[in-house]
């Protein structure tokens, strides 16, 4: 029996283990906790803040999260969800609505990629989706951020994460979703409302999430 075979196999696994041991990703911290996210954004006022059940938190394992309802005086309401995962082993994964919501009985009616131009000349790439659960229709704008870079595709997100982990030593990720509940007959108006909210919130979002 030749010994090189044994040595080679063991070295291979050992090298992988060594890489895993030495390859550290440092947690990326938020500038301030998400609970300090502004309670008023232009005409929007914080109406309600929700906390997740322990069961849900056990699955999501966000480092920090925020689930709020903002309203205006004329009765418009949007839900804002921000999930932040600092990239350590304790933090969970980003859950894409594509994979996550169907488990809860929601199904996707439509979804398309687009981007929203911003006053500073940049733009936010995002997904405009319509989901339905029983009689409830929800339009949503959402995107992922991997190491501060916005992406809209689950696979591109995963690749970005790998790239960040290998080359930048960070694996932080965020998920932002702006939702508007509608009767289903006024999708356009609902999307307009969500976009208007994003237009008022983007500066705060940029400031509160790592770049």
């Amino acid at each position: 029996m030749r010994i090189h075979r044994y040595v080679l196999s063991i070295l291979l696994v050992g090298a992988a283990g060594l890489f895993m041991g030495l390859h550290t990703t440092v947690p990326t911290y938020l500038p301030v906790p998400l609970e300090d996210f502004p309670a008023s954004l232009a005409q929007w006022r914080l109406a309600r803040e929700e906390t997740f059940s322990p069961e849900l938190l056990k699955v999501l394992r966000p480092t920090d999260y925020l689930y709020r309802v903002y309203t205006t005086n004329n009765g418009d309401a949007v839900h804002l969800y921000i999930g932040y995962h600092d990239g350590t082993r304790n933090a969970g994964q980003i859950h894409s609505p594509k994979n996550c919501l169907p488990g809860g009985g929601w199904y996707e009616v439509s979804s398309r990629k687009t981007s929203l131009p911003l006053p500073d000349g940049s733009s936010i790439p995002l997904v405009e989706a319509v989901y339905k659960h029983g009689e409830t229709t929800e339009v949503m704008l959402y995107w992922f951020e991997a190491g501060g870079v916005e992406v809209t595709n689950e696979y591109a997100f995963k690749l970005k994460e790998v790239e960040n982990s290998i080359f930048r030593g960070r694996r932080d990720a965020a998920f932002v979703r702006i939702g508007v509940t509608t009767r289903g007959d006024s999708l356009d108006a609902a999307f307009q409302q969500a976009r208007r909210f994003l237009g008022d919130a983007w500066q705060s979002l940029r400031w509160h999430l790592p770049s």
Binding site: L12, V13, G17, R89
Partner: protein, 291 residues
């Protein structure tokens, strides 16, 4: 890499037991280092088995695998060792999977890489004749890995639709007043939703693990093994249609109680035992065709 092509040249054929007698410290070293590298990954997987009832069969899978290996130990002892260079490349693939999974926190890839590395190493060190005996038990280990949520949901949606559709059709044929809206069944007095758990997918992975164990343990020919393993799917779907129909019919008489709480759990147990019985019956029938 100059030895790759000449790997078995100049070595006298050796039975596995003789090879192991000489090289056991290497095997031990490999298992130790695999244990070190994979300890966190395996520990996290065991926690999933413990916490998530969709995956509790995970505890059983390694035991069945070990048992299978034990039943083959006489044939293993005398199997000829014919190292195969392909095995090294399979191990390399496994390591790439491990590292890719590690940097992107993709649990399925990390977990599956353990099986791939084991498979590759057995092939590289001991060759195809040993692999013929160990391949089944090793690949069987893949069933201990929880199915990724993406795959689960992609399968659950159409399966749910199918189960609801067939169940409603059967109930209508039985004269039950029922309407279907997507995965929701509307009865005169109650509305029931067919959730993921009832689609048959939840019991499918457990049933599949059991069916393959049955197949590897008791069926002799490859054809009957495959048939028995594949039968897990229709059995899981049919028994769950039975469950939905029974729940629908009973809730007509007993209201929501028939669809919730203890009774629902109990029905789940009865259905799983029925599925097991069907699987066993299929095994008995297939055994007649085993040569």
């Amino acid at each position: 890499m100059e030895h790759v092509g000449t790997i078995s040249r100049g070595e006298p054929p050796l039975a596995l037991q003789d090879a192991l007698r000489r090289s056991w410290p290497w095997l031990l070293a490999l298992l130790l280092i695999l244990g070190l590298v994979f300890q966190d990954i395996v520990a996290a997987m065991v926690r999933v088995w413990a916490d998530d009832e969709n995956n509790s069969h995970g505890f059983l899978v390694p035991l069945v695998s070990l048992y299978l290996i034990a039943t083959r130990r006489d044939r293993l002892a005398t199997a000829q060792v014919t190292p195969c260079a392909w095995g090294l490349w399979i191990s390399v693939l496994g390591v790439v999977m491990l590292l890719a999974g590690w940097v992107s926190t993709e649990f399925f890839t990390m977990r599956a890489s353990l099986v791939v590395i084991l498979y590759g190493t057995v092939l590289y060190w001991y060759g195809w004749e040993v692999m013929r005996l160990l391949g089944g038990p090793l690949l069987y280990l893949l069933l201990m890995i929880p199915v990724p949520a993406v795959v689960y949901d992609a399968l659950a949606m159409p399966l749910r639709g199918f189960v609801t559709m067939v169940s409603v059709w059967i109930m209508k044929s039985l004269g039950v007043l029922v309407l279907r809206e997507g995965n929701v069944m509307l009865f005169p007095n109650i509305t029931l939703e067919v959730v993921n758990a009832c689609s048959g997918l939840r019991s499918l992975t457990s049933l599949l693990a059991l069916a393959v164990a049955f197949a590897l343990l008791f069926q002799k020919s490859a054809v009957t093994r495959w048939i028995l393993a594949l039968l897990a799917l229709p059995i899981a779907v049919i028994t769950n249609i039975g469950r939905v129909v029974a729940t629908g019919v009973l809730s007509q008489y007993f209201g929501a109680a028939a669809a919730e709480g203890f009774f629902h759990e109990f029905a789940g147990m009865v259905i799983f035992i029925t599925a097991l019985a069907l699987l066993f019956a299929a095994h008995l029938v297939l055994r007649r065709f085993d040569s």
